[in-house]
């Protein structure tokens, strides 16, 4: 019976698993399944996607940090990310969800300006 094995093997297994993945696989699966027309996903696909997501986060964070104001301020900011999404082709798909933020004040000012221009007619 295999039950008499000591716990060391199991711990190695668990830590091996934990070392390879630091994101919740079930949540990744949930996101994948929310795509239209996705019926089922095999284990390899799930693992690869989860792992790729890790790589993606590292890639995005580091690129944005290096290309943006990170070097001076030592801080990764939202605008660094927005900037990188626009500049780097790989991250172009993010431009829709990373609009460059403007202050509400500035937005309202430009609205006013537009209205004034209309009124000139």
């Amino acid at each position: 019976m295999k039950m008499s094995q000591n716990n060391a093997d199991k711990d190695d297994q668990t830590s091996a698993t934990k070392k390879t993945i630091s994101l919740p696989v079930s949540r990744v699966r949930l996101i994948m399944k929310s795509s239209p027309d996705v019926s089922s996903i095999n284990q390899d696909a799930l693992f690869l996607t989860t792992k790729a997501t890790e790589l993606f986060v590292q890639h995005l964070a580091l690129s944005s940090f290096n290309n943006g104001s990170g070097k001076e301020t030592n801080t990764l900011s939202y605008s660094d990310l927005a900037h990188t999404a626009e500049e780097t082709e790989t991250f172009h798909f993010l431009t829709d969800i990373l609009p460059k933020k403007i202050l509400a004040r500035d937005y309202l000012n430009s609205l006013d300006q537009m209205q004034e221009e209309d009124a000139d007619f």
Binding site: M3, V25, I31, Q43, V57, L94
Partner: protein
């Protein structure tokens, strides 16, 4: 009101300007005229205010990966963390829909590893492909290293998505085998004991 539940007039809906930034309007039921238009329809137009991108990975995990990626003394703004959290969901959806499309083209129903890798290559993430293949290999070896019982347990609920050639027998608690073969040693437990030799599904 013309009954159009997707009115974008902020003052009518009573939504604040902050919602204007995204291209999608979350229709709040406010105590004003907007309610009439929402209730005129069967689903009130409210049904789709939960977008697929609204499911996110936990921010703590995402933040940790970011922190480890930037130089050690670097800091990360809070809105940057939240933003990457959203980008991640977008990325997953992006890859998945590409992989899913290929799958359908080949008349298959289950997205497999190859589909994912191919999607990454197509979408400009081919730099991930080689490292991913290595990780997959290491991962499989780590699992197989256990006395010839190939087992896969990666976090919760992975067992629900087995491949087409997986077995159909009901599983004894705590054991999942990747290739469908049942080994001679079967541990039948009704409780989730920590059984050393068999990789269990971790329900955290």
């Amino acid at each position: 009101m013309d009954g159009d539940s997707s009115t974008t007039d902020a003052s009518q809906l009573g939504i604040t300007g902050e919602y204007m930034a995204s291209g999608h309007y979350v229709l709040q039921s406010q105590d004003d005229d907007a309610d009439e238009s929402l209730n005129d329809h069967d689903d009130g137009g409210i049904k789709e205010n939960f977008r697929e991108q609204d499911i996110y990975l936990p921010i703590a995990n995402v933040a940790r990966i970011m922190k480890n990626a930037v130089p050690q003394t670097g800091k990360i703004a809070k809105d940057a963390k939240e933003c990457v959290q959203e980008c991640v969901s977008e990325f997953i959806s992006f890859i998945t829909s590409e992989a899913s499309e290929r799958c359908h083209q080949e008349k298959r129903k289950t997205i497999n590893g190859e589909d994912i890798l191919f999607a990454m290559s197509t979408l400009g993430f081919d730099m991930y492909v080689e490292p991913l293949k290595l990780y997959l290999q290491k991962f499989r070896e780590a699992m197989k290293g256990e006395k010839g019982i190939p087992g896969v347990a990666v976090g919760e609920s992975l067992g629900e998505e087995l491949t087409d050639d997986s077995f159909t027998n009901p599983l004894p608690a705590g054991i999942i085998t990747a290739d469908g073969q049942q080994q001679n040693v079967m541990v039948y437990t009704t409780s989730y004991q920590q059984i050393p030799t068999v990789q269990q599904i971790q329900f955290s």
